[in-house]
Subunit: 213 residues, 2 copies
């Protein structure tokens, strides 16, 4: 298809498509004339992917380009690439210091150990958990600590659905794409469903529904 | 305590405290002299709260100030205020149009109905769910739709923990604070635990652990 058609099919404007081409976010089409190129299904798919990532990741287009490039490195094993894909959509957090951080880090390690999980203590994900626990302590929400296992159970449940969906994919490129997109969209989906559930469960447990917006 | 002490206790720099005071993010201390004021525990708590919100909400300090102000409106009922608090930490999404959006919106309504939940179809949360479902369809991840109920179950599980933690709080101000902070921190906690679980569950289900970072 021509660029105009590609724009129509994806809803991405022609100037934006040209920008994506310049930035390397979209592979160039097949030249069919001096100022003409043909685009195919993989271009449609890539445009939809970039748009989804831009909408849900909070990453800049430059970061998305870098990420997509990184994921195409053939020297990496499948699981290295899946892991790399997951890393790119895991929020960064610098390790903290002091007693408070140490205590929170220990609680994070104990939490995942109770669920039979192993994870590098200085990984991005473990730092994120540690940061949350430290902040909860700082704010005096110690009561929440009694419920951490319920959050971990819920996370395990979503992760089982995530991995099952991943196992359904036969194509390597699709699997890597699903790790990125599924993790990002899944976070948003779970957060939104959690709010909907909070409203309904507060009605059950507290007898009052939260005001909706 | 004096401002220097407040800074020491909270780890927020004196210039930043002065900025918060100017912006109305922190109530002024009790004047004890021409250039002196005393600050108390509520100032420590508010500083910690503002910092947590700035770190986890992605809201600007101006937006946080507006939010905190809005939550102090006494004319609102407890549940209106809790709902308002929740709204402020729910990502905004404009409703879309077209067949694709309508279909996704219907699927979102059917999903929550299957869980016995009721929620305004044009609420922010329902729009967020609809947007995710639409994007998943656009990218051709129809397989994920078979697992939406597992995500909803996981969301319900976290929401039960959220509401139980809320019910433990006796003080209204703390409840409202917990809705804001607990929802924000909970999103980050669940997302991080989900990634940790993904790595471990992929090892179980696919026989390979995702590369950590």
């Amino acid at each position: 298809m021509r660029m105009a058609e590609l724009s129509r099919v994806t809803g991405v404007s022609v100037p934006m498509i040209k920008y994506y081409l310049r930035e390397g976010l979209l592979p160039s089409g097949e030249r069919t004339g001096p100022n003409q190129a043909q685009y195919g299904r993989e271009h449609v798919r890539r445009l939809n992917l970039v748009r989804a990532m831009a909408e849900y990741s909070g990453l800049s287009l430059a970061e998305i380009a870098e990420l997509l490039e990184g994921l195409e490195r053939p020297e990496l094993s499948l699981y290295d690439r899946l892991g790399l894909a997951q890393c790119t959509v895991t929020s960064r957090r610098e390790p903290g210091e002091g007693e408070g951080w140490e205590r929170a880090a220990r609680e994070a390690r104990e939490l995942i150990a109770r669920h039979g999980w192993r994870h590098s203590p200085d990984s991005q994900a473990m730092r994120a958990v540690t940061g949350v626990l430290l902040t909860l302590r700082t704010l005096g929400y110690d009561g929440v600590f009694a419920r951490l296992d319920e959050y971990a159970e819920a996370a395990a449940r979503t992760a089982r659905a995530d991995v099952a969906a991943l196992a359904d994919e036969s194509d390597l490129e699709r699997m890597i794409e699903l790790v990125v997109v599924g993790t990002l969209l899944g976070d948003t989906l779970i957060a939104a469903l959690r709010r909907i559930a909070q409203g309904n469960i507060s009605a059950e447990m507290l007898g009052e529904k939260l005001e909706e917006c």
